[in-house]
Each structure stands twice: as structure tokens, then as C-alpha cells.
Amino acid sequence: MNSSVMLLVLLGVPFCASVVLAFVGDRKFAPEINILGSAATFAVGIGLALEVYVQGPMLAGGRFFFVDAFNVYLSVLTAFVSMTTAVFSRRYMRREREHGRVGHVGMRFYHAMFQLFIFAMLLCLLTNNVGVLWIAMELATLSTVLLVSLYRTPTAIEAAWKYFILCGVGIAQALFGTVLLYFAAEKVLGEGGEALLWTNLIRVSGSLEPTVLSLAFVFLMVGYGTKVGLVPLHNWLPDAHSEGPTPISAVLSGLLLNIALYALVRCKVLVDGSTHTHHAGNIMMGFGLLSIIVAAFSLLRQKDIKRMFSYSSIEHMGVATFAFGLGGPIATFGALLHMLVHSLAKSAIFFTVGHASQMHRSQDMARIRGLFRGNPLVGWGLMFGVMAIAGMPPFGIFTSEFLILTATMKDAPYLTPFLLLGLGVAFAALFRKVQPMVAGDVPSYQKAMKVAHLPVILHLVLVLAIGLYMPDFLNSWFHTAVELLK
């Protein structure tokens, strides 16, 4: 298949699925359409990845799209996690409907927006135009805002409003940064759409005006940093990730944060090329480290299970941002790996958390008890998920965090204690909270229910496998991506 056609199909499938589901999203067969659409997207994504693997980076669709090792692996990851989330959401949403938390219109809306969200994320990743990147990012936010408030409870509406307003303001700063970027680029590349194409920008990044780019980066950092959920711009994140339906929490935490970080890293490469200093990297390291520490201590104080894991997402995004800021081959490799394994582990955790809170009809951690005996898959899934996310060997997150720590010790040794402190506190906090939930007797109010096995097991096995043995193709992808981001 021609690569342009492949890209069109990749973006077309979720878009068309979204339109179809807007009409039939409340029917009995709607979840199957949702799964089918996501599976098709994943299949095409794999095809595209193979093509890039064999042929190297490519431009397509009149240079509107650009695919290289960096964004293709994130595209495959996005398509994969959306597929497993669609599988998980089939049973989960059916039960929410039985409980009367969503109606007909809600279901139609849910399914349509889920697919639109996937479309927006893939567009974000694959576009070559920095302006379109911004537009797609905003579209991804807008498509999930009303999903957060799907249950229409006062807290859900509050969370969604916060998400809408704070992310709207944040991302507006990124648009101003993009305007400044265009201002600098136009002087070198001339007017018109060509001056916003990433492939052109990177080619001439050496001759872009450094003062303008430094200023632009501050705005881009604040803008996309809000979407990554970096402290102190993170206020919306725990609310938005905990009040919506669990499948949405899984994709918000597992995927959207990655996409925002992707945008930030793309901008950083341009700024570095122009300023030849470590200015941008330092800013990212500062934000990253602050996020790790603040999130780790916030973990200790949580009572709501989904809220706790949202803070854990902030912490892990902090780790990846810190590592990208640090730069160098080892840290960048670690950051790329970290984005992958965190995304897999975190969405698996949210799947089990969703089941656990449905079994107890509550997200309050004090009420969730006896998961090992009540439902072994949920209990052990949660336990292994937490072990993975806390960075225990032999899971993949251990590998990535170890790489990042090694690089920190080499390049910025005075920061190692802070990094270790954050990781240590998060580790302790997670285990202290999770132990009582999984061990012990089954409480009387716990209800047994059928759960979706496949997504949880698949994700955790992948995280484990990557920790034990890094496949060659992944290794070479990451190495190519590291070269690109140098």
C-alpha cells in the first residue's frame, strides 16, 4: 500500500467510526464497532510502522504528514492502547448503563467522542505542521471535556469545567509560542504554510533567531506543559482523570499526556538547534523534578483510588520530562522507553481500578478491600500493576528509571538525591495504600462480577517482557529516535 493512502486510512478509520457511532452508539452492537474500529486502526498502524522500519523516515500527503521513528512508535502505542481500552470499555460501560449512570444519548456521545479523541491524537502525532499540531491538541482536549462530565454529578461537572478552562488557557499560551516560532521561521523560509512544516524548520533551525526562540519556548513550555500535567500547572489533572468514566481515565493518563510531551519535545529540538545552549533543557529539568517530588508527596495524602493514580501519572510524566531535559543518548533512550512502559502499565492499572471500584460501587480506598480473594485477576492485576509502576524489577519501568538515574548520576550528580527521594516516596506511598486493598477478607458489600481479562494481562505481560528482553526492532527504533532528538 502507498504510504499516503496508509496514513489516510489510519486517520480515516477513527474519524469515520466516530461519525457512525454518533448515530448508533447506543445500540447493542456499538461496543463491537468501537473495538473493530480501534483494531483496524491498530492494524494499519503496524503496517505503517513496518514501512518506516524498512524505509526510514518519510513524508507523505504533499509533505503534510511526516513519519519518523519517534512518532511512529507513539502512534502504534496510541492505537494499541485505544484498542485494549475499547475491549475493556465494552463490559465496563454496559455495567455503568445498568447502574443507571449513563443514558442513550450519553452512550452515543461516549462512543463517538472516544473515536474522535483517537483521531485527534493520531493527527497530533503524524502531522508535519506545527500549527496543525496545536489544533489537533486542542481538538483532543475538547473531545474529552464532555466525557469527563459524562455522569453529570456536581463533582464531575466541576472537574470538566476546570479541565476545559485551565487547559484552554494553557494551550492558548502554546499558540502564542507557535506564533513566535512562525515569526522567526518566516524570516528564513518565507511566508506561507511551508514555514511551519517541522521538516523545514529542523533543516534551518541553526539560522532561526535565538532570542525569539527562547521566548517562544517559554510559552510553548507553559502551554504544552499544562497538558503534560507538570507541577505547578497540574491542578486540573487529578480531577479530570478521576471523575470521568474509567476507560477515559486510562486513555487520558496513558496516552494524552504522552502526546503533549511529544509536542513539547519536538519544540525543544528546534529551540536547541537555534540557541545552542542548554536553556530549554534546564527549564524542562526544573519542571520535571518539581513534578516528581510534589506528586510523590501528594500520593501519600490521597483517599480516592483514581486520584492517587492520577498523581502517579504526574510523577511519571515528570520523570520523562526530566530525562528529555537532561538530554544525552542514555537519558533520551530512557525517556522514550519510559513513555512506552508507563503508558502500558498505567492503563492496565486503570482497568483493574475500574473493576475494583465497580465491585465496591465506590472509589474510596477505605472501602475497597479483599481483592485477592474477591477476584484474583483484579487483585493480582492491581498488585502487579503497582509493582510495575513503582519501578520494581524485572518490569520495564525499572529499566527506564534505572537508565535515567544512571544518566543523572553522570551528567547532573547533584540532582540524583532529589530524584531518588521522589521515586522512593512514591514507591512507599503506593505500597502502603495498595496493600490493605488487595489483602484480607472480602467485605460483605463487595459484588462479584465478570471482568475483562485480556487487556490487563496483555499490558502487564508486555511491560514485563520489555523489562526482561528488549526486542531488536524496538531497540533500533529508539536508537534512531535518540539520534533525531540529539
Binding site: N129, G131, V132, W134, I135, E138, L139, L142, V145, L146, S149, R152, T153, P154, T155, I157, E158, A159, A160, W161, K162, F164, I165, G168, V169, A172, L175, F176, T178, V179, L180, Y182, F183, E186, K187, E191, G192, G193, A195, L196, E209, T211, V212, L215, D239, E243, S298, R301, K303
Partner: protein
């Protein structure tokens, strides 16, 4: 050329009017009056874009100008009108605290914007370069409005004013972003408009008011 100078003066004058409306919005208490001010700001912006398009001989700016006119002067104010009529909050008056203080912060933000954009003004050769500071100030004032006000409709108007500032910045720094980007941004604003419309109804039915002060349940407990 005499002609060019007059036109650039007109452009600066319109920029001043945009800033004036931004300050006006900061202290306007009536929801109804706010929407009018927002429409006026859009109109000045649209005229300014057309003027710049004429001076710089950039035809795509005419398209942006018409887009702004239809979206921000006609469509969005109309949607807001319909919403506040439906929700019966047409006459609502918001208590705005500390107006002198807010104004002072606003003035400080304008000065800060001039300071921040100084290096860009030096690099730019466009006749509109002096209005970039005003554009950034409009962004900042929109942000300030969203922080200081507590009404859902006011916050949204602050958000839209902020977006006006961004559009203005693009016009004055670079004679407008490429058309595909401007169209995309307009589309996003349009989708956002539908979403906040739905939101107003949800908030109103759930909390019985559009005062977002009511929404303070989600906090960190100790």
C-alpha cells in the same frame, strides 16, 4: 509615502480600541454588557486585520478579517445571547471585587507586555510591529479576567478575549498565520462554543447558578 503613514496610524488607533475594550471587559459587571463589549472588540480586530491586509497587500488577511467578523462579531455573541436568554440570566449582575486593584494589575501587565516584546519589535520590519505588545496585553488581560471573575459566562468571555489577543498577535507579528492554521483555530473555537453552551446548561441545572464559586468540592483533603 503619506498614504501608508495614515493607514498605519489607523491600525494603531484600532489596536488602542481593542485594548480599551479589553480593559472595559475587565470591570464590566453586567453579563449583557460584556457580550456587547466582546462584539465590539471583535469588530475592531476585524477592521484592523482588513487594514493591515490592505497596507501589506496580503489578500489572505481579508479572508481572516471576514472570518473574524462572522465568528466573533456575529455568531459567538449571538450564541451567548441565546444562551443567557434561555437561562434567564440576562439581567444578572456580578459582584466584582477590587476594581481599582484589578485595573492597576492590568496596567502593569500592559507595561510587562511592552517589555517582553521589545526584542521582537527590534527584529521586525513590519509596519504593525508596535501593535504586538498590545496583542500580548490583550492575551494577558483576558487571562486576568478569567482569574478574577467567578461567573461561568464571564470566564468564557475572558477566554474568547484571550483568543482574540492571540489572533491579533498573529496579525501584527507576521501578517497572520498560514490559512490552514487560522481555519483550524477558528474550527476549534467553534467547537469550544458548542461545548461551553452545553456546559452552561449542565452547570445551571446542577448548581442552580452559573457562579463557579459553588464548584469547590474537589480539593486536596488533609
Amino acid at each position: 509615502m503619506m498614504d501608508l503613514q495614515i493607514v498605519s496610524q489607523i491600525s494603531s488607533f484600532l489596536a488602542a480600541l481593542v485594548l480599551l475594550t479589553a480593559f472595559g471587559m475587565l470591570v464590566q459587571k453586567r453579563v449583557y454588557g460584556l457580550i456587547h463589549l466582546f462584539a465590539w472588540q471583535g469588530l475592531f480586530l476585524s477592521l484592523n486585520t482588513a487594514v493591515v491586509g490592505f497596507v501589506a497587500n496580503k489578500h489572505h488577511l481579508y479572508i481572516s478579517s471576514v472570518l473574524t467578523l462572522s465568528l466573533k462579531v456575529v455568531l459567538l455573541p449571538y450564541i451567548l445571547h441565546v444562551l443567557i436568554n434561555r437561562l434567564k440570566i440576562r439581567k444578572e449582575v456580578e459582584t466584582v471585587v477590587n476594581i481599582p486593584m484589578t485595573m492597576m494589575i492590568g496596567i502593569a501587565l500592559v507595561i510587562f507586555s511592552y517589555h517582553l516584546t521589545a526584542p521582537i519589535r527590534q527584529l521586525s520590519t513590519l509596519i504593525t510591529r508596535s501593535t504586538l505588545a498590545v496583542a500580548l496585553a490583550t492575551v494577558m488581560l483576558g487571562l486576568l479576567m478569567m482569574i478574577t471573575r467567578r461567573h461561568a459566562v464571564t470566564q468564557i468571555i475572558g477566554f474568547l478575549a484571550l483568543e482574540n489577543g492571540l489572533f491579533f498577535a498573529a496579525t501584527s507579528a507576521t501578517y497572520g498565520m498560514p490559512l490552514v492554521v487560522e481555519l483550524g483555530v477558528a474550527l476549534d473555537v467553534l467547537i469550544a462554543a458548542f461545548i461551553f453552551g452545553i456546559f452552561f446548561f449542565h452547570i445551571h441545572t446542577t448548581f442552580d447558578t452559573l457562579d463557579v464559586e459553588q464548584m469547590a468540592k474537589l480539593k486536596e483533603e488533609n
